[in-house]
Symmetry: D2
Subunit: 338 residues, 4 copies
């Protein structure tokens, strides 16, 4: 296979670190450019675990230099910053995978409402392909620009979409009780995530107010073709990585468990990174440091309870981004990810 | 105040340890008898933290000796064992607080269905007062036998009952998403709770199959006078202590947030151990090692979301047992608990 | 007993929170004044666990107002700030317990070397009594100003001093391998203590460079009358609270284990907060949320290995401060602490 | 490269799981046989994270069948069991890497003293090569039987041996203060490692009594050619994986820090899995899920303090075993391990 040269833009956050970790094990991808405004330190001082594993300076963002060095750019920038960097990279002919939220919401007014910032790149927003391979692999394969889904939305879409598609559940009565490890909060210290505040505690951090809610809604509506009403309540788990969503869906009259299982089978047969757990329940530990999403479903008293677990840093971020890269370059979807 | 002499029966489990911890700080209660079949070790070898803090031998269960030594017995035994020990203690004239599940379910057939064992003490089952002081303090004050509620049921009842009583929510559409620290699983080692299996993971351990479900249902029906349908899904949090329940309740037409807040106010005004959190959300950390239950409520799109946090070992077990003892002996409900 | 009215100066850090927690359970002490520059929030918004437990506004520092309101002031300020607030409080006739490092090092030049700031209060530095009750209770009882020891130095002194006093170990060959939970690092967020950086890891954070090293040395030299050479290496444990020091001491020729045990017995007989563990080893869990220090000693191949565990927030900070207050006011040393 | 077919004997413990995880990513090794007495379940029910990743039945131990299926066997059995399985595998012509302790101690009487069991396989004990590649790669390359080192001994040898070899430290005054995550304790549940007992605590679990002590001594003596006296004190860290050893070594007169750094450089230049940390200190987090060992050294007041961190499950077990396999089959030492 031909080598894929990768630039990482915004190299100093956790999604960058996770992307680097995985790309170092990838059979054909090679990291050739690290861009950040923080250039005073080598990457292995920012991330001491990388000592001896990668020998690249941190360079300024320079679309021309990146064009020379790389075939694809991963944007690991915060929102707003991302949409300032995407246009020059695409104009330079690079393929781009954006891990930020900037190109996930198709409606710029929804973006502005939730992110409190006008969208400045309508052209590429329209062109961006939503990088959820289980549902959009055809579009991803021919895309030059992929917007990588959020961690919670990936778990929600994988857990809910097949039942919506199959018409087994009410689209107006969806409750997503979600919980995440703390790496999802990023690398910037805060009182909320100071170790002695966060350790040995469990709490919700927002009811129907998390920015991933409109992304979940859009994705479910896009896949199912129905308007969806849902309630999303995230919680913080005192651990590093992992998301578990416990999803409550009202069964339509007559919907049976075997219908649900068949719907998942139709949706995920041949999909390498979704595992149905039939004999036990998902656990974040079973998917930690992997690109798998694990799903179980039960029917109780007229309600489907769906459990979906994934690693927020892998299937919820860097792993899925690499999966998208693999598809965009026509190589095995699982390369470097099993 | 007159001293209250306390016997602890089943002294070698976590609820016993927690009861001892709190009673050592109680202004008038004094532990005078520790009973267990495991008598070969002093209590401070079983629980090294008690070294130098309590100097009592572990003695065999002997109702006559306990009657001489104590005014009240706390039963910290597993279910089934508890109902074998309650009758002789009551017959000996002691007051009894039972921390097991044996006397919580009023219907012996329901008990048998969930606990896979026939109930052998119908008389005391009928007489047992359910020890949830926020709703049954009058009965508790005059009781000689109190059945101490389960940890999850305490949080569920405190979170839901006021809204049911006030007729603000549909009794047939209750979802309780619950999560607990691991001390709730007791002191016996198991694969499931082996440190490397349990650390850094989050998972559900049962959908509508936990033994606390019928207790929750019974309590809500008793308090509200309505038949209730509910779905209870518990999860395990990788930490020592604390329960958070995230409860989804369908609002009746016209029910408003201010109605809900007024209902909680009516229910808990003057109750020393329930705190309404109006400006922030409950966290298990805020109630750890305390007898408080913290509650918040939000209304979103026709559904009340109630959060209730408490310490499973305190308000969910030993603390509430002591609260019951205080009421049974006519002393300040908060003695030794603030 | 007469009530002791307590002012807490610097109310917004972890040592303040811990002091408040314990004082709320104290039989005769009552918190009457909370001082901080952060006055915009009630204390229960800064520390949500205090909701409903304390109803005092946060007031500015005003020595006159504090004099009216309180008998004793606990200073929970950072170093440097502490020595700016001690003089007016002492001048106002209050008793003072300072939990900062400002008055621990008797030699102002040593202070300046380690804390990079000149000492501005030579008079009170000379008068301050080092509040380690196991060795200085007579001085503490008659003191109006006590400097509360650091957490590591408390464990080191308790573990080592008896063997030095008894002449059983070489004062020039002392190695203290120490480890602490993260609450010891204080409440201000930092990259180092950001949850995803600190969780699931163990590391040293300084070899012979920690500011507690000169305090340990001074205390050991004061108690033993010998010059001491020691090496102090602290580590961070991914947990909230607790210190364990594993101390390696070279036995003098002929020194036996029974001599060591006798030395500890002489030092700590009748001392309520030191527990010798003869049948098991200390664990931070056994002392968490208590004012106890647990000690074991072994002799192996010419070296005593001493283990000393305590809770850095209690015996290492707030608990010992209250113990000192109890002594200063002539009440039972253990009041509110068992 | 030619495929290497691997059998794993004793497939149901943590070292087996870790070996499987790594081999699944290995470019030429392929797992072809899983042997255990527990055959009733598929491997993905024992280890749910393996669902969909490996499709092999668990088979009985049958040396002939294994010979047909595999080129090399990894023994992930407990001690004693291992030495019952090694002879038939070697007799069948397989290469063998034994991850147990059975062939680490060259002196069968020392083995018997520490493991309380006579050694039954003197022939292979004599032939076994100690699989520490940084020091014995020549022997490993030509070996058909490698005894994989223990986790603590690997860290101790890597940290100490270069300084001993260079004659910079006193061989009679070595103190190893070690700490490990809990995966090192294996998969069998116990009171000691029950989550609520182990979480949020730190303690030593043996002073000079751990079975890895004689292995460390033997290794240091073998490499340095000197008799060694040392004191080894292990501790338990409340986390999954990682070892940090803080090693105190008495410097010989005139020994300088630069001499030590030069000694490490000589020992580890070109060695792919040892990283000297010159600008920061080792942390277990930096080596978690990697085969690296990280080392720092400081000189203070006549004593070298060496810090060595590694992942007990990788460089301390499965990773090093695969490294040995790579060497035994003449492929790149780092294959599948970076």
């Amino acid at each position: 296979m031909k080598q894929i040269r990768v630039a990482i833009i915004g190299a100093t956050g956790y999604t960058s670190l996770e992307t680097i970790r995985w790309l170092l094990k990838h059979p054909v991808a090679k990291i050739t450019y690290l861009a950040s405004r923080q250039q005073e330190q080598p990457i292995h001082e920012l991330f001491p675990e990388l000592l001896g594993r990668i020998d690249l300076p941190i360079a300024p963002f320079d679309a021309h230099a990146i064009q020379q060095a790389a075939d694809v750019a991963f944007l690991c920038l915060p929102h707003v910053a991302a949409m300032q960097h995407v246009p020059p990279l695409l104009d330079a002919g690079l393929k781009v995978v954006d891990l930020s939220a900037d190109y996930r919401l198709k409606d710029a007014t929804v973006y502005e409402k939730w992110y409190k910032h006008a969208h400045s790149d309508a052209k590429n927003l329209a062109a961006a392909v939503y990088g959820l391979p289980e549902f959009f692999s055809a579009e991803i394969k021919s895309a030059s620009f992929v917007s990588n889904p959020g961690c919670y939305p990936t778990a929600a879409a994988l857990g809910i979409a097949p039942l919506l598609q199959a018409g087994l559940v009410e689209p107006a009565d969806i409750i997503i009780n979600a919980a995440s490890g703390i790496s999802g909060a990023g690398r910037t210290p805060s009182q909320l995530h100071h170790f002695p505040e966060r350790n040995e505690t469990f709490e919700s951090y927002g009811i129907a107010s998390h920015r991933h809610a409109p992304e979940i809604q859009q994705t479910l509506e896009t896949i199912s073709g129905h308007a969806v009403h849902m309630l999303f309540v995230p919680h913080l788990i005192p651990m590093d990585r992992g998301i578990l969503e416990t999803i409550y869906l009202k069964a339509k009259p007559g919907a049976k468990l075997e219908n649900a299982l068949a719907a998942y089978d139709r949706a995920y047969r041949g999909k390498p990174f979704v595992r149905m757990r039939l004999n036990n329940l998902p656990s974040t530990k079973y998917v930690a440091n992997t690109n798998f999403a694990d799903i179980s479903v039960k029917l109780y008293n007229g309600r489907f309870v769906v459990l979906c677990a994934l690693d927020n840093m892998v299937k919820g971020a860097a792993g899925q981004a690499i999966e998208n890269m693999n598809l965009m370059f026509g190589i095995d979807e699982t390369a470097g990810l099993l």
